[in-house]
Symmetry: C2
Subunit: 125 residues, 2 copies
């Protein structure tokens, strides 16, 4: 099945509270995950919530990485969406599991943009 | 099934080239989609690619909205991830379909953070 992109949705559990509540650390890990996978980082934005939790997204040339953390549950929702053939989203995902010290991960890969056809265009005969 | 969040992945097809290639217009539509759904916008970042295409993400208090466009294919990959019960991701999604003038949409909702248990903690007896 032809697809424009691969989107990995990962549930990381059993992560230390202190990592999941440290915005700068999360930003650093996410940027490095993108680079480790060979992606080109374009922009990123992170936000710290009160009393706890961090959300952030990295726009890469190949699509994006996103994270939302619930430190009190040891849980992070991660997505890694890549288009093209040069970057494997699982490389970034595995880097995140290791660096967030997750005890376990459940993940699934969703194909994006399958069977997209060219738009209809008017042709003058 | 208890879940912390709802993540809608939507494939929008048949959208006009000019909308999908206009970064400012896309930013405006995405922010309005978040607000229409009752979300609280925290941060956003958009990027325009050469020769065409736009990627962008809006961090909301309830998680995020993201978009990647392929104007030449009339296609946009959209996600709307919301946690909590106050925002319905389909409200944002339907707003996007209408405002991107999509001829059709295929979408699926993935439950995020299902059956997350509290982390193990040491207890001194």
């Amino acid at each position: 099945m032809r697809a424009l992109g691969r989107h990995v949705l990962a549930e990381l559990q059993g992560c230390p509270f202190d990592i999941l509540n440290d915005m700068k650390k999360i930003e650093e890990i996410m940027v490095k995950a993108a680079l480790e996978a060979g992606a080109e980082v374009r922009e990123f934005v992170f936000h710290k919530f009160s009393p706890q939790g961090v959300s952030g997204v990295i726009v890469i040339s190949e699509s994006h990485l996103a994270i939302h953390t619930w430190p009190e549950l040891g849980y992070a929702a991660v997505d890694v969406f890549t288009c093209g053939d040069t970057v494997n989203p699982w490389d970034a995902c595995n880097y995140l599991v290791e660096n967030f010290q997750a005890e376990n991960m459940d993940a699934q890969e969703i194909k994006r943009g399958t069977n997209i056809s060219l738009p209809r265009v008017a042709v003058n005969l």
